[in-house]
Symmetry: C2
Subunit: 558 residues, 2 copies
């Protein structure tokens, strides 16, 4: 299924328009736009991290083309929780219009504000909590507690005269959460009684059978590993996973160890989480990592970033002995984290490096030190049965996840025609309990590279892939403008191609000859001469070396 681009019809009165802008067909850059009576409400505004076919890209943003010319109509951005794939694009949105209000829970807004501070933006923000109701323009919002791999996550129910919509954000249904804050199924039941017209639901783990294990099952494993560790312990995890860090702190304290945070985002986020009371640290347990070095080895736990093998993060640098803490014989390293697809090689390189240094590396493949943050199929069925929604829009996931989620909805009794498999930019109208796809926007990837946003195109990435696979050969020839006679050159330079440039000695006369012949037959146009050069060397390199580097011919008139 791939929708053809078509402009949506005008929005009819009393109708709610729902447009997923990001997060469908991908894991990341979640963003959905709701429109009613000329006003827009945005739910989440996250980033996507690039894959290997998008080289050199720092971040990928949702395509704000979806709200072009409508910035003044936005009544607010609801942020369901503080993960990058839900908040990371907020600075780029606020750079377009700084006074768009942000609505979210205390921890979510604290994390967003810390991020915005780095961009020198001070936002207009409104803190909300579960159970709270707020009217934003025509949107009557109710916030519902959900459990996820970060505290203080919220689902949002959106009421308009067109009907009731529930968007889960990311969630799971841990029935014994560390903070006692359950996904509020009583609220789900109440909303179900009222009648949910459209349910936007997290699909990330829809193709995982059964139930996500309890976060608290990890505690005893950490306790055992840390308890038996003979020397230093280094734990790597996501820097926003407060409950995972809490369990590390608890295990460390139980065994008389102090904890030092490592990595900028870990220090920043855990400082915020502690200040706001989401992280409980017994007195005297935390220690600055510079002072921790003076402790005996069996009295310290380092809590660090870099669990995905990111080359610049603490754990990779440790594995390369490029960090003040140098792991060695007898140390224990725990990767208490998921392994995001695509990161395997990087993560295993780090694990091998640490093993080589003598460390004992514990990770999810050899111990139960991670559980997912997303509801698996069994949990999603509970949701469908408790809510009994009229229509379902699976969100947050690759196509196979959306399909698996739609199948679960159908298994629970929701008619297939009421489960909507959409793409980013699919425009869905809701009225009287009926949804209709009314258009398809042409949305793309917006690449952030350095300080440039949206300047790198897919054509540039294609060039990068060619350059990165094959390198390039540049040929410079200076010719006399009047006669076409070669003044200097051909000079040939190559990068990423071969050890030295003498390999080109045999092709230079061929190029000179081709250019001379072209000049004799009256060709003077710079572009045409460059094509002569390209063809000559291109054919040579392909036939003699069976390779296809980028060829950059430059014929210059002097």
């Amino acid at each position: 299924m791939s929708n053809t681009v078509s402009a949506p019809e005008a929005l009819a009165p009393g109708t709610l328009r729902v447009t997923p802008v990001g997060g469908l067909g991908e894991v990341g850059r979640n963003m959905t736009v709701f429109e009613f009576d000329g006003k827009l409400l945005i739910v989440d505004c996250g980033v996507l991290f690039p894959e290997e076919h998008q080289p050199g890209v720092d971040l990928i943003l949702p395509d704000f083309e979806a709200i072009r010319g409508r910035l003044d109509d936005i009544v607010g951005v609801v942020l369901t929780h503080g993960h990058e794939d839900h908040i990371g694009a907020v600075p780029y949105l606020l750079k377009r219009k700084g006074d768009i209000p942000l609505i979210g829970s205390q921890l979510t807004l604290a994390l967003v504000e810390a991020k915005l501070k780095e961009h020198r933006i001070k936002p207009y923000s409104m803190t909300v909590a579960e159970g709270q109701r707020e009217q934003l323009g025509p949107f009557d919002l109710e916030f519902v507690a959900v459990n996820h791999s970060i505290p203080d996550a919220l689902a949002v129910a959106i009421r308009t005269p067109a009907g009731l919509v529930l968007a889960t954000g990311d969630f799971k249904m841990d029935q014994l959460p560390l903070d006692g804050r359950l996904t509020d199924l009583r609220a789900f039941a109440r909303l179900g009684e009222e009648g949910v017209d459209l349910f936007l639901v997290d699909s990330t783990n829809a193709d995982v059978p059964g139930f996500t294990p309890l976060e608290r099952e990890i505690g005893p494993v950490l306790d055992q590993v840390i308890g038996k560790a003979p020397r230093r312990v280094i734990v790597a995890s996501f820097s926003s996973h407060v409950h995972r860090v809490q369990q590390v702190i608890d295990a460390a304290a139980a065994h008389g160890r102090r904890v030092a945070f490592l990595g900028r985002s870990m220090v920043r986020n855990m400082t915020i989480a502690e200040q706001l009371g989401y992280l409980n640290v017994p007195d005297g347990v935390l220690i600055d990592y510079k002072k921790a070095k003076d402790l005996p080895d069996d009295r310290v736990v380092y809590m660090s970033t870099g669990s995905q093998g990111e080359p610049m993060a603490v754990l990779s640098r440790m594995a390369n002995l490029d960090h003040a803490i140098e792991p060695g014989e007898g140390d224990t390293v725990i990767l208490a984290s998921s392994l995001i697809p695509g990161n395997e090689n990087a993560v295993y390189r780090v694990i091998d490096g640490l093993t080589k240094l003598g460390a004992n590396v514990v990770h999810k493949a050899n111990a139960k030190v991670h559980v997912s943050g997303h509801a698996a199929a069994g949990e999603l069925l509970y949701c469908y049965n408790i809510l009994g929604p009229k229509n379902v829009l699976p969100v947050h996931g690759e196509y196979r996840h959306l399909m698996a989620n739609a199948k679960l909805a159908q298994d629970s009794g929701i008619p297939a025609e009421n489960t909507i498999i959409a793409e980013n930019g699919t425009v869905i109208d809701l009225k009287d309990g009926v949804t209709r796809v009314v258009g398809q926007l042409d949305l793309g990837f917006v690449y952030v590279d350095g300080s440039s946003v949206g300047e790198i195109t897919d054509a540039d990435l294609k060039d990068r892939r060619i350059l990165g696979e094959e390198g390039f050969i540049s040929v410079i020839v200076v010719v006399d403008a009047a006669t076409g006679r070669i003044v200097t050159g051909p000079e040939i330079h190559a990068r990423g191609f071969a050890e030295d440039d003498t390999v080109f000695d045999s092709v230079k006369p061929k190029i000179a000859q081709a250019l001379t012949e072209a000049a004799k037959s009256g060709v003077r146009d710079q572009h045409a001469l460059q094509q002569v050069v390209r063809r000559t060397i291109g054919r040579w390199v392909n036939q003699s070396l069976r390779r296809r580097p980028m060829i950059v011919p430059m014929v210059i008139e002097a």
Copy 2:
């Protein structure tokens, strides 16, 4: 652990020298050299497939530097089985000396010969079978049947006056193999009685607890999926996995479906396997894929390549509708294969593409359609206990796999000082049941790119990574040789960098000015002027765009 390079001492009389050349600290390019009394025996000669930090590389060879100047001393190459990571570098070895004898089982040699034919090489080969003994120079070889994910695999026992060595090649210990050909533990027991001085043992799955499940457990799953499939079935697997293909053929035949092979290597290998009797195809089951299109959809199974998401293989092309067979609604696709780390993104892209076309995709994450070909920890313990080797050299694996295997050896009672963790190029001498590390060769990666072998260096790959991440900017200025005055330029071209070149308008005057100033102060040297250009534009692009493309300044005298 990283051994310092040191030339080995001269080989003492009566001593066996063992040098692993490839396959240690990596999964691939397995090759070990044995030396006794001036003669060399090579066991395996495979390739390694590149990772993402080795862009554009086709294959990686073992570093033949280890046998430089010794080609005439080689008495033969024993090939334990027909997988690429054990035979793939043979053509490159034989290009150096065509008459080195190849020794292997019937199927192994048939696969090598088919590969060599593509390189237009006809080898000298000697077919051996389990139980057979052959004398090659000073090496007394005995071949032992082992079970693996390709038929006809052999371990090799090497006897010299220095002692008895056993090298497993790749193996597992399936106790109910499809072809009834067990890993010969009776032979292992007999060798153990005789006394194994050194055991070279496959480490690939040493960190996997327990036992590899039986290959035949997959049959009923395939049978059920194919039996229930409403329309076409497409199965992807490795093109050398004869037993997996056998089970697909059996399930297809049981449900009245015909089987068409797709993909060059699948057709080639299965034709060989059938001709030699390793694959049993009931009469009338095979059909050419061009004719299969005329069959009803529920009467056909396509057996194809591409299970790792390789972009040019059949399955990826099907997912992109770039193949004569176009999957659609109701079709079933089975990936009956492993998912090699690093291929996740590519494989999931193919799965998503097929799902989008309407196919039901069955793979190892949602059904039991794959088992490994390597012995897990439980099986390795059996080996250690039956053999009771004096010394152990774990081979075939990343560092963590070698470490896990050494740990298993030690758990079984082998002293830690007799378990050798080596690197490629570690030189180990064996005499009187005692091993000693006597040197460390300086071996590297030999990259094949197109028709070039060993010309691409790590510096070129670094250039490619920069080019692939950031693109490049080239600046051309033609100057008067005598005065240094700018004749033409600066012309600036960029690729993989930004949408258009007008972004450079503001930096051109800066470059011109910097060059004019340099010329005024008497700088004429081309290299020095290029450095001026590089510094000027480099500083500008870094400060104004926060990026670091490759900068290629070219100052040309005219």
